[in-house]
Symmetry: C2
Subunit: 303 residues, 2 copies
């Protein structure tokens, strides 16, 4: 039996942003930089390093400008930062970051609670923001949160996901990360929703962003690969979510994703053992075991 | 996009045997019986309860005969027990169990280290054993261990897996559990090896038995479902393996399997919350958190 899967996959490492923004402890900038250097050493070339959200809202990332200013210079690595609004964009522009990401959702209730806007309002706010970013030479990524299941509304209508995704692309976003924010999706959800998106969109425009609340993340990645998706988000050490808050598990761990892709003969350019080494920098600051199968396997005494 | 997946899946619960045989602590028979009653209450109808291996080799299951004698009587539930040899079969026959399982492997080195025989010797020993079991009215299941990766030999030849599987079926085994003993397989391994087996065997004859060492178990289940496999082994609480011995993670957790199948609209007859309740009986005896995503999610304070 032969199936065509991508021969190479791009991993977007979101640990420094999606991971660390949810940790109760703010990590010192120096350690964040060590983490980022470790990620680069592991071969990761797309790293979302921080968010220009208001420091009062996410104090864990209050050092965004300082962090960006001190990032190692590497021609092969693209750093990006989340930008929630026009003020954030100005801070991002001043910092010198070359790529930003904007985020909205496919569920009205979640968008309201998360960013206090309707989806339409968020898209309309992004229009000017994206235009200015592009004019200033930045590239822009988009996130569509709660693309499968919303914690408030339950199953999300795939037509809504496509609508929002297409809006983002029309406004100048070059890649949309379709996100299972609460990690509830199963492979059939991926086949259903992503299959529907691919009726009108190229797989090159999409990334899949899974959280691993219930253990389905790698199964969902496999479903995505079968659909021709070539970009997946992940977080070293499975960082993210709050380990003490049910419903908010971390991103699928970069090392678990790399293990599966390695075993499948799909190239990533990433070295598993070095991802674990990078995650270890954060583990020692957090003082708790990380949430990945590779980590558990490599550190049995911690389980 | 439409894909045909089975509408109903049978789960073979192996926690009381594959799970508990690997725990450092021997669980008292009363608690094992509570666990089994909990599993039945959860809707599990195929339960491998113990092994008639020599009590000196696996003291954790030395109470096999006593346990079987005290099992609740239920017309809808099939209990089974592992039988390693002729002496074990006599003990099994005396106990009154109606279904047994025999086990060999697809890797010569593993078979030698595990049961001190060549694969050919193990099959030849099973021939008489299975004949006698069937004559006595028992049904027989078979396991092919290290069907994908061997800890000593690496990748396992699928032709060897098919050869051993066909031998077992010819000798009277009604179902063969193709087992990823060390949990190293990825979905492409499943497609490759199981796809090859299905060229000559019906999916009804096969079960898939995954351990979840690296997080790929549910992805492998999804690959199996796509091939038409309808029977999967799992263990409540992800029991099994030794949490202190790298390379021996537990079975895929029944509750994680049920979550994914529920979400995919595939019927199992099993109630997730009740599987967790059953696992809780063992967790309190072991005094450690269990290794399943559902458990971690439901007991965040333990992580």
């Amino acid at each position: 039996m032969v199936q065509r899967l991508p021969s190479r996959v791009s991993i977007v490492e979101v640990g420094p942003r999606d991971g660390l923004q949810n940790e109760p402890t703010a990590i010192p900038t120096d350690q964040k930089l060590s983490f980022v250097r470790g990620l680069i050493a592991a071969g990761l070339t797309d790293i979302e390093v921080t968010s220009f959200v208001h420091p009062k809202i996410v104090p864990q990332l209050a050092d965004a400008a300082d962090l960006v200013a001190r990032l190692p210079q590497s021609a092969n690595v693209t750093f990006s930062a989340l930008v929630p609004n026009a003020q954030g964009l100005e801070r991002a522009l001043q910092s010198g970051i070359r790529r930003i990401a904007v985020f909205t959702a496919a569920s009205e209730t979640f968008t309201q609670k998360n960013i206090n806007m309707t989806i339409a309002e968020s898209l309309s706010a992004f229009r000017a923001l994206i235009r200015r970013a592009v004019e200033c030479g930045l590239s822009v990524r988009g996130y569509v949160s709660t693309a499968f299941v919303c914690p408030y509304e339950g199953d999300v209508d795939k037509r809504r996901v496509r609508e929002v995704t297409q809006h983002l692309i029309e406004m100048g976003v070059d890649q949309v990360a379709i996100s299972d924010t609460i990690g509830a999706a199963a492979p059939t959800d991926v086949v259903d929703t992503i299959g529907y998106l691919l009726e009108t969109l190229s797989p090159k425009m999409l990334a899949l962003h899974f959280h691993d609340t219930y253990g389905t993340a790698l199964a969902n990645v496999y479903a995505g690969l079968q659909l021709g998706i070539e970009t997946f988000d992940s977080s070293a050490g499975g960082l993210g979510g709050c380990p003490f808050a049910p419903g908010a598990a971390g991103n699928v761990a970069t090392e678990d994703l790399v293990y599966m892709l390695d075993r499948m003969g799909i190239e990533t350019g990433v070295t598993l053992s070095k991802v674990l080494a990078a995650a270890g920098i954060i583990a020692s600051v957090l003082g708790r075991p990380l949430r990945s199968m590779q980590w558990t396997h490599a550190h049995p005494a911690h389980t």
